[in-house]
Symmetry: none
Subunit: 264 residues, 2 copies
Amino acid sequence: MRVPQHVVDARRRDLASLIQTTGWLPIAEVCARLKVSEATARRDLDALEQSDVITRTRGGALGEFNQRFPSFRERQRVAAPAKRRIARAAAALIAPGSTVFLDAGSTVYAVAEALIARAPIGADSARPLTVVTNSLPVAELLADTDGITVSLLGGRYLRRLSIVLGPESVRHCADWSFDLVVLGAEGADAAGVTNSQPDVVAVQRAAVANARAHALCLDASKLGQRAPEPLFAWHQVQRLVTDADAARLDDAGIRILPSRLITA
Amino acid sequence: MRVPQHVVDARRRDLASLIQTTGWLPIAEVCARLKVSEATARRDLDALEQSDVITRTRGGALGEFNQRFPSFRERQRVAAPAKRRIARAAAALIAPGSTVFLDAGSTVYAVAEALIARAPIGADSARPLTVVTNSLPVAELLADTDGITVSLLGGRYLRRLSIVLGPESVRHCADWSFDLVVLGAEGADAAGVTNSQPDVVAVQRAAVANARAHALCLDASKLGQRAPEPLFAWHQVQRLVTDADAARLDDAGIRILPSRLITA
DNA sequence: GCCTATATGATTGAAAGCAATCATATAGCC
DNA sequence: GGCTATATGATTGCTTTCAATCATATAGGC
């Protein structure tokens, strides 16, 4: 049964402040306090998470978390299976002994996870490995992993995204010579690959400029999307790792040589 | 396979502090960080919950949950008042419009806290301000503060200390021209000021080399201590900010010009 | 007043987390 | 050096949580 809008809004405000003061609230508690069904409780929590007021955890929700660790939402989000497959395929491109740059962004974060999953030692291993990144979650994840050395780029620290950016980051890329640069993007259509922030693109370009090879990871949800800042035209993409098959790409107007396409 | 007791204890201490700083940690993350199986992760979490250090939630664990309700006042009491006085005195050295380097370490972290506490605007304010640091907690704390721009040095990421270090960090210091460098140390005796890690000292030296001035923050508990790596002889110290009075310093065999001493 | 968009609660299959148990390797003690 | 207590990781069956779907009632716009 539908209920007036103001009631819904008020309830969600109450819930938000409830969670902020408690710090953490299990779902059952939410139902009891608001006297709603579990389904509605979940919907309310989803709505609050959408507007970045709270952070969902399995079985409840955290308040105050986004302010302190905004990147966590991304880290926490269960990697969609497609993303994990892409990540595994991208990680397979990395040869032992190489120096790789890992971009910021959730898909590339999944690549870092996949790197940990790959055999730590032996013929199938990617290690030893030097990883350079401007993503704090990636650095955080890989640091202290045997056989992996992690370097952070320097630069302006953006807490909201948990990354470093800016002219210093771009400059520091020139200190390196990457064997592979692994990139993500937010949009991909007939015109090319796009991202939302100019600063992010600047670092991506700088990394690619100092690399022997690069690979772009794109999950199918990005197809047809377009972000303001152009990163690549399609002919510039050396390797595209995606879960979308050739037909799907074709639908989106994307033309790429089969030899450059890796379907995960 | 059984493992030495001290290893288990150390791991659990690490886990506790990890959870305290993250706020919340999902089980999978715990496994990844500690490189243990899920079973062991659960056992560790159970143990920590037993001793009331953390609170378990379904799928993870909360830190700070138990400490959340004790008021701020009480939390402040825990932070040594001496350290806060030192921090305030050091923060007072910072002029608006300047570029300062903040070292890693708990005393200097307190300086960052004091910077936030200083008037955000007006005659008494230190802002606008550019802060450069190799300490992630400092960057985390100051980022997104109005009037403060935060830059991280690049370099090898050391998770255990949450800092970046190494030759890149040293090199990147040369990109800057600091108005003031704020340093901490672990030991101070007649011979001079010492720190435990050569890499840390290397960055401290590089920062000082590119600075017009520097200040050393030392709480009295460090007097008489000695760490392996020499940082300064006393005649090299431009400004010493400490809670120890001149007599106390004299007892420890420390000779420093009164004009260079700031007693907080 | 009628119609449609939407907020709700129920249901269900799938995924994730959990507690218990067991084999194994080794730290710690005699 | 040998014995035992214990920390670990794997496995299994069970419980909880989740996402998706559906029917229903009603708010809000015409």
